[in-house]
Amino acid sequence: MGSIIFLVVLVVVVGWLIGAYNGLISLKNQTLNAFKQIDVQLKRRHDLIPNLVNAVKGAMEFERSTLEAVIQARNQAVKVNATGPEGIKQISQAENALSSALQRLMVVVEQYPQLKATGNIGQLQEELTSTENKVAFARQLYNDTATQFNTKQQQFPTNMVAGLAKAQPADLWEIEDQAEKAVPQVDLSMKPKV
């Protein structure tokens, strides 16, 4: 009788171990995948910016400094060759700088109605809005998944398996620039507000 109870307990414990381990591994891979998604979207953004700058350059001669800030921030961001969630601090700093530079540019573009009137700019604006949103949503998904992963590996009793699954707390993607936090969201939608 005693051995049967022992066996049952053993099966339950081993079953739980397998479940907890696999759960952690699955979350770890989801976190990595979510991070890859951010990378993809950042690359898209880097490719879009030269087009944007070319499109507005002619009409905005006297806003040269704003344009140059964007180009510089973009080049800085491309240069960062950190990969994986470990390099997240470095990447996010460069990308956040680029985000604020782009936001300043879009504010300036808003002030030139003749620029907005040409269809080309409207289209580019839409692309830029979308790209910024994609980056933001990819970041949101990464942060959500990483938070879930971190919570799981720190919670009792799953934390006992965390070492076995080589689970390390993943860094969250934070907006560090206080100024950017304060800046209200620029409305780039093509539709009038109702």
């Binding site: 979510a34 998604q37 979207q41 269809g119 409207g122 289209q123 839409e126 692309e127 809005t129 979308s130 949103n133 994609k134 949503f137 990819a138 949101q140 998904l141 959500d144 998944t145 938070t147 879930q148 919570t151 799981k152 939608s189 093509m190 539709k191 507000k193 109702v194």
Partner: protein, 347 residues
């Protein structure tokens, strides 16, 4: 996504898988009942016939109807999404031509990233009434369709919220269950119409059976049993389309609240879905392009039925969608809670 919501998501996915299987089993069993029941009635009615007359022994009807049901279910699973889209006259956006379509494609891509599902195929229904629906069998084979009216009416944020709602349906596998249901409801309606003609011949046959057993004094127990069986069998023929309709209605209401919540989770902006729903609600015209069969797939009742506006036992049983006012109120509540947490003010 907190741990709690992800657990709910898995539960919801599991429940939807299970319900789809149950739906198919129920569908096939129902047809088997119709077929084999008919066989049995026919068997009883020919049992006392003279030796030279026809005796119905081999259950042809049962086997044939079960086979038809299996084929239909398989066909519905394989082509259900196409059929639903076809019935609404939607056209796929492959290469977006105008800024509106471009924006829609962008918004869907953004929401696909936010929800972590692959980008679904995007369709437009050329209808001036604002509405949207999702269909498909799983996130890899999903379709999102919006009407032209929705693109005209909604701001970018509102469109995003509506698409988020639809991708919520995709992510928790609501689309599989609801598309299957749409396809099977359509199949039952079609078969019912066709079979009613056959049934008219069958009632004579059944009536003859009843008379025959009453005449035979030896089998006293078979008389009432046969009569009850006959009544139930005929009733199931008559009620089949009504039952499937009620099923379609009952299955879709609760999940609208859930999809609303998922949209809020993806966009982090419940207020934009609230204002989108309000605009959609304000457009009173029914969506002409979307017929009864696909009504339960839409974000709002395309038939513009008054029932949807009410809550209560009767409306609960017959409306495909929960009351819009309640959905908006819940979303507003989420939005204000969020604003309060962030220290903002309520506009």
């Amino acid at each position: 996504m907190s741990d709690d919501t992800s657990r709910n998501l898995f539960q919801q996915q599991e429940a939807n898988r299970r319900r789809t299987v149950l739906l198919v089993i129920g569908f096939v069993a129902f047809f088997a009942w119709l077929g084999f029941g008919g066989d049995y009635l026919y068997y009883l009615s020919t049992r006392d016939a003279p030796n030279t007359a026809y005796h119905h022994i081999f259950p042809w009807f049962g086997i044939a109807l079960t086979a038809i049901a299996l084929l239909t279910a398989w066909y519905a699973y394989a082509t259900g999404p196409e059929k639903v889209l076809w019935s609404t006259g939607a056209r796929a956006i492959v290469d977006p031509t105008d800024p509106q379509e471009r924006q829609l494609v962008n918004v869907v891509e953004e929401m696909a990233i936010a929800s972590g599902v692959p980008r679904p195929r995007i369709w437009i229904v050329d209808d001036p009434d604002p509405n949207a629906f999702a269909t498909g069998t799983d996130p890899l084979h999903a379709h999102v369709a919006v009407t032209r009216g929705l693109l005209e009416l909604c701001s970018r944020e509102e469109l995003q919220a509506v698409v988020g709602h639809e991708l919520g349906h995709v992510k928790n596998l609501d689309v599989r269950l609801m598309t299957m249901l749409a396809a099977l409801v359509g199949a039952v309606a079609l078969m019912h119409d066709g079979a009613t003609r056959v049934l008219r011949g069958g009632t004579n046959l059944g009536g003859g059976g009843g008379g025959g057993s009453r005449g035979g004094g030896k089998k006293g127990g078979a008389g009432p049993l046969l009569a009850i069986l006959l009544v139930v069998w005929v009733l199931s023929w008559i009620l089949a389309p009504i039952i499937t309709q009620i099923l379609a209605l009952a299955v879709s209401r609760k999940r609208e609240y859930l999809a609303d919540a998922m949209s809020a989770q993806f966009t982090r902006n419940p207020l934009s879905l609230a204002s989108a729903l309000q605009k959609i609600e304000g457009a009173v015209a029914p969506t002409a392009a979307i017929k009864r069969g696909a009504a339960h797939l839409c974000i709002t009742d395309p038939l513009g039925r008054r029932l949807t506006a009410r809550e209560g036992l009767f409306a609960d049983a017959l409306a495909t969608h929960p009351p819009m006012a309640k959905r908006i109120a819940i979303l507003r509540g989420m939005g204000y809670a969020q604003l309060k947490k962030e220290g903002g003010t309520v506009a």
